[in-house]
Subunit: 566 residues, 2 copies
């Protein structure tokens, strides 16, 4: 089991790396065994004091409801969990801190015990990262000494919740935007803190985005990075007079234009005189013109201009076109423009017409297809609205709503005890959706004739797995009347072993980010379309075997207190 070289994470503190594992530490060095709730330590002490700390427990990590009003979720964050447990070890100063934090009555032996623990006796089974997943089905099953596994609850849930939420959000944005559009994640500045930003870049890429603006994330995860300039760059110039170095060598190196500024000015005059554009613009903004010329001189091969600092159609577009045409004279092809305000549907269509007019009037092949990028508070709804109105945008830069998951800022993954000492356990609740599904379980995805997944089914660990071609009764875990016989065409077991200290057991390799991204795209593609649609999607069915159903309800009755009516 190896971390692939393209996931070039920060390697953790050497003092923690005592284990033979070759897995790098968590990407964020702040992810330490102390990054957990205090009650995990008070419980650990109570388990230790009761002599229960080494009892073998099984916990399921799962969520109860798909986010964003949808009927699917993408699972992410597994690699960070494995990195965390592969390097799980308390530093001396952390033990000292805990000793000062817990009540003084806590016995010394407990702190010696804590100092000694690691995750060599823990096993983690999980669905591969990037998979499409559904409520109630365990994303991870974590087995090990109860006190140790309990300490993992908070960091695991923290590492999975946001990762899965933002990957799902990215996948939903990709779904609405369509496959042909370039999607750029621009969220760092609005993200919830520094690694909110870094994680967002990573997981948006996994969920189907093409690139990020975030350099740190680009470096750490090997994600393509994009960016050009801001409004401040435009307004930092006063006018073309301040451009001193005006020469530009042609793309093929065969000639030098000594005064690029003049060539641009000439093109601007030509555009102004063009009858077909009459009335669209008069004097363009001179700061903006100077900024565009300077940017083109710096990046003649990558000229992409932000055109809305003063006025898109009256200034930004004509200024851009003059510079692009001057570049074209020297064999360079301008990349395009970015719109960051206003009516993006209308402005993109007007801009496209302007570009096509230039292609036709001046005979510049391909100019009509010059790229149009749009940004400015985009989300699923605005993308959908743009599609309905009709637009000419080729690339979308999406920030705030994507990375903060503004439409629903949290996913509710939980971590529930399902077995201890081989005894199945259940957590009851007034609210049926909060009742946990007991037992150490396996889960399977059953596929139908058309290749679509039909449903997921959970069984007790010792039950024979469902087989392709064999009829199986699939029951809703809590609603007696909901059940169906299914004859699957194909059966896929969902969880693999990703972590074990047992050298005889095989550990699944952690895939690269690119592999997870591909799995995500492939899983999304193979879903039946009615589960995926934005409006009233069909819920995907999650079921249990008849045997597990009976056992759940036996245990439920057994644990629920009986009232005494007078």
């Amino acid at each position: 089991m190896d971390v692939k070289p393209d996931v070039n994470g920060v390697v953790n503190d050497e003092n923690r790396n005592h284990q033979p594992a070759t897995i790098a530490g968590p990407t964020n060095p702040m992810v330490t065994p102390l990054l957990t709730d205090l009650y995990q330590f008070t419980m650990a002490y109570a388990y230790w004091k009761a002599g229960k700390n080494n009892e073998r427990a099984v916990f399921d990590l799962y969520f109860r409801k798909n986010p964003f009003g949808g009927e699917y979720t993408v699972f992410a964050g597994l690699e960070e969990c494995i990195r965390f447990i592969a390097n799980f070890k308390f530093l001396k100063e952390e033990i000292t801190f805990l000793r000062e934090t817990l009540p003084p009555t806590c016995e010394d032996g407990f702190f010696d015990y804590l100092q000694g623990i690691d995750c060599s006796d823990v096993e983690v089974y999980a669905i591969p990262e990037g998979s499409v997943v559904f409520p109630k089905v365990p994303l991870m099953r974590v087995e090990g000494p109860v006190a140790v596994v309990q300490l993992l609850e908070t960091p695991f849930v923290n590492l999975i919740n946001y990762a899965s939420l933002v990957t799902t959000n990215a996948a939903r944005h990709r779904f609405v935007a369509g496959k042909s559009k370039l999607l750029l994640e621009f969220g760092l500045r609005r993200a919830q803190g520094p690694d909110g930003g870094i994680s967002a870049s990573r997981y948006c890429y996994m969920g189907g985005f093409d690139a990020t603006s975030n350099c740190a994330a680009g470096k750490i995860f090997g994600i393509p990075i994009r960016g050009t300039h801001s409004h401040a760059f435009v307004s930092s110039f006063m006018g073309p007079d301040e451009i001193i170095e005006k020469s530009l060598i042609s793309h093929d190196g065969s000639q030098t234009c000594e005064d690029f500024t003049s060539v641009v000015q000439t093109w601007l005059s030509k555009l102004k005189r063009l009858g077909i554009l009459k009335g669209i613009f008069g004097e363009t903004n001179q700061s903006e013109l100077a900024a565009f010329i300077s940017y083109a001189l710096a990046f003649p091969d990558n000229f992409l201009a932000l055109v809305d600092t003063y006025d898109v159609m009256r200034s930004g577009i004509p200024n851009f076109c003059a510079v692009a045409l001057a570049l074209n004279d020297l064999g360079y092809k301008a990349r395009g423009i970015r719109l960051d305000s206003g009516d993006l549907a209308y402005l993109s269509c007007e801009t496209r017409k302007f570009f096509q007019t230039i292609e036709n009037e001046f005979g510049v092949p391909g100019f009509g297809k010059t790229g149009i990028t749009a940004s400015n508070d985009l989300n699923e709804e605005t993308l959908d609205a743009l599609n309905k109105q009709g637009h000419e945008v080729d690339a979308f830069g999406i920030g705030t709503y994507l990375v903060t998951c503004y439409a629903q800022a949290a996913l509710g993954c939980v971590f529930k005890l399902v077995e201890i000492n081989n005894q199945p356990r259940i957590k009851l609740s007034e609210d049926v959706v909060k009742v946990s599904i007991p037992c150490k379980k396996r889960s399977f995805r059953l596929y139908g004739k058309e290749g679509y997944p039909l449903l997921d089914i959970m069984s007790g660990e010792d039950e024979p797995p469902p087989k392709a071609g064999e009829r199986i009764l699939c029951r809703h875990p809590f609603q007696e009347s909901k059940r169906a016989f299914v004859v699957p065409q194909r059966v896929e077991e969902l969880m693999k072993c990703y972590w074990t200290g047992n050298p005889d057991k095989e550990r699944a390799e952690l895939p690269t980010l690119k592999e997870n991204r591909e799995r995500c795209a492939q899983h999304l593609d193979q879903m039946r379309p009615d589960h995926m649609r934005k409006l009233n999607p069909t819920p995907y069915k999650v079921s249990v075997t008849a045997k597990l159903y009976d056992f759940i309800h036996f245990l439920w009755l057994n644990e629920a207190p009986v009232g005494e009516l007078q």
Copy 2:
């Protein structure tokens, strides 16, 4: 200028600490000069290529709208910004990465330039952290070489946005809960990533919370930590038979109870036989009873039990009371219970009655006042609803909605160029709210007779500051008709210098987290109540001087392109 010892942040990579500054690096070591948008580097290159990189620029950092439908915001995140620039220096490998990332046409000289830059020539003026602040008024003014200051945009905005948002959210929760309640931040598991959790703990404390469940945050920032046990702890026990070590020494050490379990069982029988409780409960859950006994044996001085694993009134409360009464026999006082589901208003009132019945029936003084903590998806609205219904909760544990700022997951701080080379600059927009206020500015808070702040006013840097007792015209920056004469009783300049490389200038000290927390509480207290109320709060006025007003509108006309109608 020193970072106080209680802000015990991770000290950054030694290679960065080349500067004489004694300020520790960012709390999260992932905050590096690469944690910025790529366009900051492409702009830096274009500035450098145009010979503009050292032009002196002034940027304002501000937001446009208060979050959560309110009329105030609390400013936070400044200390992290100062830590960041105090240690701002590129590592060789970062330069190598940038060289590979930018187009190959970029000249070598630029990378030598980048390798050499630091923030010794940058100045940062800011409002003190923990202050109540308002839209459009600069939270920070950052001056320095345009290419360097531009690189700071993304990390500064990232570090301020979430910090201010979550501090404001915490302050709003405190406002609704009232001063007498204990507020506990329980959000780590649902936060947006690891430092979403760590930052949330820090800034919720600043905003008025009393403690966190997050051990890492407790260690780094010296915040009180709280926690007891979860549902899993309860369901990990099968029944009292499995408790082997049953002895407990009395609180004063004078006697040892050899079989604490029996004493608890006896109390449970007494409770069951008590006429006044008849019909409330019958057989309680034995797993739960065993878990409570074990927890009490481990923490006899800190017994707080989660009572809703099976059934609050039929099992959790009677089991808790039996254990609490047994502890009471030995001189220990139980801390209380936690409710994590169901109707918190109703259950807390029923629980209080139960406690009071015990106080009266068994003559246990103070038992009626045993603490009741509530958790379970609490937010401003549910706290408000609980207040209206009436409840008996003493402490609230708040997670998801607090730390992810679910009601509004992002604050929109921006960083706008307002002056370069002593030339004021403006950013126009179709949307007036997006037009920037040009010029290097000062800002002041004017206080009225009753001690409340009346309004904030911005002026050009060279204007004479407003004086107490002198009449001043305060104008809305964009709406001509909105203006008022004000005679302030007191005038407070809002920004101080927190960072300068100039040894002759005085730098304000960075306060401790506790000091910022106190400032926050004090600022919130002194606001006029109608600005603070939840429903339809009165907007606080933000204004400019008459001279600045005139200049804004002169510049606006000057920069806006004029159309040519045919």
